[in-house]
């Protein structure tokens, strides 16, 4: 039998050959409609939406405010494609509610979503602060420079402090060097300060997480400028106030599932341990690891221990990145398992699984149900309380998703307008 790679080559080539050379249509440059839609965003900058902030920044310089330490783990949002969420499926073994859980059990009142005027790769992506309860927009943060785009957001535990990851494309590269802004909200959820942080990072970032106290920023980055170790991965932890940085390195492996995968790293509530989703270039080790940031040493895996091993595909298992609960007791992920025949009776079992960081075994599966389509089967996880008993999630629904607060098997639906990526609707 042919190898799998050969079968892929043959099948894709056959599909491509259905397009005959003589059948290519002429080029039609519809420039007027393209420019009128896409250039509109270019004129809107920080000053329009955050004029009071600009005035404050003029005299404030770099300000890093102290924030309260909380018990929750907040997670990031990465820009992506997608559209508005649709109503969820009606699984028989789980239930849904419409109101009543925002503010309970530490569920944050506010979140930051990423939006774009078009394709987020070719159009600027901006950030919108929204109320969790209603989805109402409370403030908008545009890229700081022409051609800039906000690529990811990460949050502290106080529900008021966020870091925005911005870059500017250039020289044909889709992603440029990153810089970061600290965003602070008022008690009413309005943006009150926006401070450029005194450091930058390489352009290939695969994870970003603000510590729960809002004082340190963990960045997973692939430098790609080391000819001896081209597959080097670094975890850098920056102190926001001073730009001091600690770096852990590892060769031949990656963190996260791709560029701007803001879900790939997460902190415990005490800010001591950093969970990361490790994908080795070869050999074992795929899964979740915990880095002890209080220890000496610069080796990433040498200073970490694996708490969840992945690799089995025949059971309900993690399909997205894993995050650690604030108390460090469990690793949580969106899980899925595809069954049946493609194009026919395929079904997708989805849910949220929690694994003990001590034993690596499943201790709880939430909102487990089966849907009929494989498309959009990833169950997105965006926030967890300290113990992992309350989550903010996106559950799949025919390729789109429904965002909600999950208490056990009960999902309280949230209104999340203009979602770029249905699996990752916002940063709480």
């Amino acid at each position: 039998m042919n190898s799998l790679e050969d079968r892929i080559r043959a099948a894709t080539a056959a599909a491509a050959d259905t397009v005959r050379p003589h059948s290519v249509p002429p080029l039609k440059l519809r420039t007027e409609q393209m420019t009128s839609a896409s250039l509109d965003a270019g004129g809107r900058r920080w000053t329009r939406m955050l004029a009071p902030v600009a005035a404050a920044l003029a005299v404030a310089g770099v300000i890093v405010a102290a924030v309260q330490v909380g018990g929750a783990v907040h997670h990031g949002t990465a820009a992506g494609n997608g559209g508005n969420a649709a109503p969820p499926p009606a699984p028989s073994s789980v239930s849904t509610e419409t109101t009543g859980n925002v503010g309970r059990d530490g569920v944050p009142l506010y979140y930051v979503a990423l939006n774009s005027t078009g394709n987020p790769v070719t159009h600027p992506v901006y950030a919108v602060v929204r109320a969790t309860e209603t989805g109402a927009a409370l403030g908008t943060i545009q890229p700081s420079v022409p051609g800039g785009t906000i690529r990811a957001v990460t949050a502290a535990a106080d529900d008021r402090t966020f870091v925005l990851d911005e870059s500017k494309a250039g020289n044909g590269n889709l992603v440029g060097t990153r810089w970061f802004y600290l965003l602070r909200l008022s008690a009413a959820g309005k943006p009150v300060s926006l401070t450029k942080l005194p450091f930058t990072a390489g352009r290939l970032i695969t994870g970003v997480a603000l510590s729960p106290d809002g004082k340190r920023l963990a960045v997973a980055v692939q430098p790609q400028d080391n000819p001896k170790y081209p597959n080097l991965t670094e975890v850098r932890v920056y102190t926001l106030a001073t730009a001091a940085v600690r770096t852990w390195t590892q060769n031949n492996g990656v963190i996260g599932s791709g560029e701007d995968d803001a879900m790939s790293v997460s902190w415990t509530a005490d800010g001591r341990e950093l969970a990361f989703d490790w994908g080795p270039g070869s050999g074992p080790g795929l899964g979740a690891w915990l880095l002890d940031t209080t220890r000496g040493g610069t080796g990433l895996l040498a200073n970490s221990h694996q708490v969840l091993s992945l690799g089995r595909l025949d059971t309900l298992s993690c399909q997205t990145d894993q995050i650690v609960s604030g108390d460090g007791s469990v690793i949580i992920c969106g899980a899925a398992k595809v069954s049946g025949q493609p194009g026919g009776s395929e079904s997708v079992e989805v849910g949220f699984q929690e694994y003990s960081t001590t034993t690596g075994k499943v201790v709880r599966t939430l909102y487990r149900h089966t849907i009929s389509q494989a498309q959009g089967s990833s169950a997105g996880l965006m926030w967890s309380n300290a113990s992992g008993s309350v989550l903010i999630v996106a559950v799949p629904n025919s390729g789109s998703g429904q965002v909600g607060i999950l208490h056990g098997n009960t999902l309280t639906r949230l209104t999340v307008p203009n979602v770029l990526n249905p699996e990752f609707a916002g940063t709480w």
């Binding site: 892929i8 009128s36 509109d40 270039g281 399909q319 069954s339």
Partner: protein, 172 residues
């Protein structure tokens, strides 16, 4: 109208984009067909990608990188179409399927099974496999096209192959 709407493109943009289209349109439409299984949608995505390239031509400091830029646009346009379509259940089964009886006749059952299995992969895994095994791009070029690192290309491809192998084994 915004003032910038009236700015003409830089000299050479039309010639440059037209030449690029003449040379690469067939390959890019084929790539989009492989990704989406829909000829009309593929043509639309490619047309939009070239229109966007034309608009941004003056921002390219190195026009030799234009092909990589437009290929990335095609990938992202295809991804957007697939996600929009996936939200419409009536279109769910059309992904990666041929769009005409003539095209269908050209695909064997074996090819259809593999294409359907590829269709079920997450976006990035599907794109990584198509770029690697259909276009035979290097890891570096895949990384540039997808806007991700080489290491991520490696792990994404590895995970995609594992998932695809399992899916196909279940069918047999």
């Amino acid at each position: 109208m915004h003032l910038r709407d009236r700015l003409p493109p830089q000299p050479g943009a039309l010639d440059g984009v037209t030449a690029l289209y003449r040379e690469h349109a067939l390959g890019l439409i084929r790539l989009a067909v492989v990704m989406m299984g829909d000829r009309q949608a593929a043509e639309d995505v490619v047309q939009d990608a070239f229109a966007e390239l034309y608009r941004r031509w003056h921002t390219l400091s190195d026009t030799s990188k234009a092909l990589g830029y437009v290929r990335s646009s095609v990938l992202n346009g295809s991804r957007t179409v697939l996600r929009k379509r996936a939200r419409q259940p009536a279109h769910g089964d059309q992904l990666m399927a041929p769009s005409s009886p003539e095209a269908e006749a050209l695909l064997s059952e074996e090819h259809r099974e593999v294409l359907e299995a590829i269709r079920r992969l997450p976006d990035r895994q599907r794109e990584a496999l198509v770029l690697r095994f259909y276009l035979d791009l290097t890891e570096g070029d895949i990384a540039k096209s997808m806007g991700i690192s080489r290491g991520t290309v490696k792990s994404t491809t590895s995970r995609a192959l594992a998932a695809l192998r399992r899916t196909l084994e279940n069918q047999s």
